[in-house]
Amino acid sequence: MAILVNRESRIICQGITGRNGTFHSLACRDYGSNLVGGVTPGKKGAFVDGIPVFNTVEEAVQETGANVSLIFIPAAHAKDPILEAVDAGIEVIVCITEGIPPLDTASALFTVKEKGRVLVGPNTPGIISPAEKCKVGIMPGYIHSPGPVGVISRSGTLTYEVVDQLTKAGMGQSTCLGLGGDPVVGLSFVDCLRLFRDDPNTEAVVLIGEIGGSAEEQAADFIKAEFQKPVIAYVAGRLAPPGKRMGHAGAIISGGSGTAQGKIKALKDVGVEVVENLTKVGQVVREVLK
């Protein structure tokens, strides 16, 4: 078991004939994911290393029964494929694209929510469920291993760092997700915690936050109200100066809100084990799970 994606997921890639689309579609398939098709308007009838390409998501869904989509479309045009996926009935949409204008994301998200779908990202490394051999994203698959720890993060390489520690410490992962580094993203910490709460194969959750917004504070409220499994957290950006975007568009302290200190406090206050030294996360998780 896992959350959101698993061995039954039927995955398409929107933008499959682009450089990144091709590379990562094949990497996902190599990992074990069920890549059933791809979409590039005007390329119907082509194949990417055996994966059939369609003109529209609607066609791809009709022909392949796809229910998950991985999007690699340049930021300036990325709103449209998200809406296309929603309208075609795709349930889980993973948008890797970085730098989509936030108003575009916000407007697409309105339809995503109205139709009850899941958008992971944008600006996310994606999702991976190791025991299910299902990877829908750009993370290096080999650092993951199956196990009982759910990982949710707003960051890419920082997650790899933590996952690497977990795997090396002998603790595999149920599902790892990146929420995305943009100011407006689809799936939230709370959404993921709700899913992990109901996933019997997840015994503990590592939550990797960063400065900006209030997603961690909302996670804290949710944990207090209805999350019983142990949560270990790390929050990046204690040294970030206000008003500066720390690489991620969403990682910005504005007007004194969204600081790492505030988030750490909120999480500690509801009993979350907050690790201050990044390199100790694996060790702390092991102690908690013992």
């Binding site: 300036a76 204008p101 575009d104 390489t157 760092e161 407006v184 990046a236």
Partner: protein, 390 residues
């Protein structure tokens, strides 16, 4: 990307919001002429620089027309404004706005931001203008009124009206507030802003005037707002941040002495935090990004090595998309071209790690390779302390 006050006010004017009469000038004599042309008694000189707190820093001066306008203008134009928002290096004054100082009967606040949690555009209004919105939120949260706008539906007239009637009972003012809210919303959405703010929006008799305005644009949407991108004032940017941005890097200047190169924003922030835990102080945030080429890595390395403050360089890479061999080649390339006078500590991990390690080993460069991130950080901090004699 931020706009200057005078640029923001021009945009507001185009959208029908009244602003005080004024002119933007670039030297003191022009300032004097502009002040006289206003044909009014009381004028104000305002330093144009990308920072709040200009008043406290001496960048704003209210004068009588009989005062020595030229002298004050000269002083302000030559300033480097240091405020609580600029950091110690301050911001140069790019221009001077010469305006009439209107009568002020009340100061309101009006601002538009994007609510990250719900993806709704949020218009905030308050009768407690003049102070910044965070201060109002802290000291008088009941004085902030908000309207959330569904981006598909857009701002409805009734929403602007309802917000206006929370600030005033006078119809003549309410209509102007509603119009200003509509204008600010249209600017926010039409130009892809991160912030569009009028503070204070002053009541001057029966007229509403935008006394100060701030419009910040989203860098990720500038590609579709070329007329806005053209307003960028590069003199307001840190030169290193600017050249890093042009090289495709994400760089933020900090105040320490440890130069950091990391891939990924989260890991980069975490690296700063780790240095800090061990008592060190980073000179910068630097994310080389996932898709960095050998040349981009070399550019990043050069930025660190060019920084006179940097005593030791810390490379922390978890290769995902970025392969460790590409990283190694970029670092080696930069050092080979310029020589190396600083100690470099590198902790690399992830994709093609063996090849990356081998490249470093074969290069013969005095780069200290570490496999434990925690130990690497400790080593870096120790070296920095040693070199600064602490």
């Amino acid at each position: 990307m931020n706009l200057h006050e005078f640029q923001s006010k021009r945009i507001l004017m185009e959208k029908g919001v009244n602003v005080p009469r004024g002119t933007v000038v670039y030297d003191a004599l022009e300032a004097l002429v502009a002040a006289r042309n206003l044909k009014t008694d009381k004028i104000v000189l305002k330093a144009q620089a990308h920072s709040g707190g200009r008043g406290k820093a001496g960048g704003i001066s209210v004068l009588s027309i009989d005062d020595d306008v030229k002298k004050v203008a000269e002083r302000i134009l030559q300033m480097t404004l240091v405020t609580n928002q600029t950091g110690p290096q301050g911001k140069p004054v790019s221009a001077l706005l010469v305006e009439e100082a209107p009568r002020i009967d009340a100061e309101l606040y009006l601002g538009v931001v994007l609510d990250r949690n719900h993806g709704e555009v949020t218009i905030m209004a308050s009768p407690a203008g003049g102070m910044d919105i965070e201060t109002i939120a802290r000291e008088a949260p009941e004085k902030i009124f908000t309207v959330k706008v569904n981006p598909l539906r857009g701002l409805c007239p009734f929403q602007a009206r309802a917000l206006a009637y929370k600030l005033t009972d006078k119809n003549i003012l309410a209509n102007q507030i509603a119009n200003a809210a509509k204008a600010l919303y249209d600017i926010f959405v039409g130009y892809d802003c991160t912030l569009a703010e009028i503070n204070p929006l002053v009541v001057s008799g029966e007229t509403l005037l935008a006394l100060d305005a701030k419009i910040n644009l989203d860098d990720h949407a500038l590609f579709r707002r070329p007329q806005m991108a053209a307003l960028r004032d590069r003199s307001q940017e840190d030169p290193v941040e600017l050249s890093a941005r042009l090289a495709g890097l994400s760089y933020i200047r900090l105040e320490g002495d440890i130069g950091c190169m990391v891939n990924g924003a989260g890991l980069a922030m975490a690296t700063l935090d780790l240095i800090s835990i061990h008592g060190g102080s980073p000179a910068n945030f630097l994310d080389v990004g996932g898709g960095a080429s050998e040349q981009v890595v070399a550019d990043a390395m050069n930025i660190l090595l060019d920084d006179k403050r940097v005593k030791v360089v810390f490379i922390n890479i978890f290769g995902g998309i970025l392969r460790c061999d590409v990283l190694a080649r970029g670092v080696i390339k930069a050092i080979k071209e310029r020589g190396l006078e600083l100690p470099v500590v590198a902790r690399i991990e992830g994709t093609n790690i063996d090849l990356g390690r081998k490249l470093f080993a074969d290069s013969g460069l005095p780069i200290q390779m570490m496999s434990s991130l925690d130990e690497a950080a400790q080593l870096v901090v120790a070296k920095a302390k040693e070199l600064s004699g602490n």
